[in-house]
């Protein structure tokens, strides 16, 4: 077994982060620490709504505090390229309630 669920293997890869307030931010992982604070480069937010397709807002370089992170997902480039975001409709994710 490897040393635990670190984020080492995801560095310099495109990741999809879901935050505790339900936002979805996609970017390239540049750094992280023990508290899951992360540095994202070339990031953008994907805004989901039921009225229209997914909106993408450019954010640029972002640091997200670990407290605020729910999921860090490895974005499969091929699957993502086949996804038609303009046709995807969904409610925004609910915020985390502790």
């Amino acid at each position: 077994m490897s040393g635990g669920p670190g984020l080492e293997s995801l560095v310099d890869q495109t990741i999809s982060v879901i935050t505790n307030d339900g936002r979805n931010i996609v970017g390239i992982l540049k750094g992280f620490d023990q508290a899951t604070n992360i540095i994202l480069d070339e990031s953008h937010e994907r805004v989901y709504s039921t009225k229209e397709g997914v909106q993408q807002l450019v954010l640029g370089l972002y640091i997200i505090r670990g407290d605020n992170i729910s999921i860090v997902g490895e974005l499969d480039e091929e699957l993502d390229a086949n996804l038609d975001l303009s046709k995807l409709r969904a409610h925004p994710l609910k915020p985390v309630i502790h």
Binding site: I69, I71, D76, L83, V96
Partner: protein
């Protein structure tokens, strides 16, 4: 009085870390099995348990969201890291629960060590 409180404080944290350690080793034994992790934002993700750490952060492989129709937010994610602090439940496979082991552990606990 202050000393007493301090002592209780230490005991409290020792109990917490001991409990944490118990769960940590339990989850480590489940590595490689299929689990469903339900998050505190109602999202449920199913996948193969890849690893766990001391914070009970979880890494899943081959993930899919249980209700993909309503939650298409992770359609292009196949491997993910879930922060321990947002996990509500981990649903285990029945064969991952060793009843004999749990019986023994609880009896030992009831005897006081």
């Amino acid at each position: 009085m202050v000393i007493l409180f301090y002592f209780q404080y230490i005991l409290f944290f020792e109990a917490i870390s001991l409990l944490n350690f118990l769960f940590f080793s339990y989850f480590k034994d489940l590595v490689g099995r299929e689990v469903t992790v339900e998050l505190k934002n109602d999202l449920a993700i199913r996948g193969t348990l890849h690893s766990v750490d001391q914070y009970l952060n979880i890494k899943l492989e081959n993930t899919r969201v249980v209700d993909q129709e309503n939650y298409p937010h992770m359609l292009s994610v196949r491997n993910c890291f879930i922060r321990g602090s947002v996990v509500r439940y981990v649903q285990l496979p029945p064969e991952g629960v060793d009843i004999e082991l749990l019986h023994d552990a609880t009896r030992r606990e009831a005897r006081g060590g």
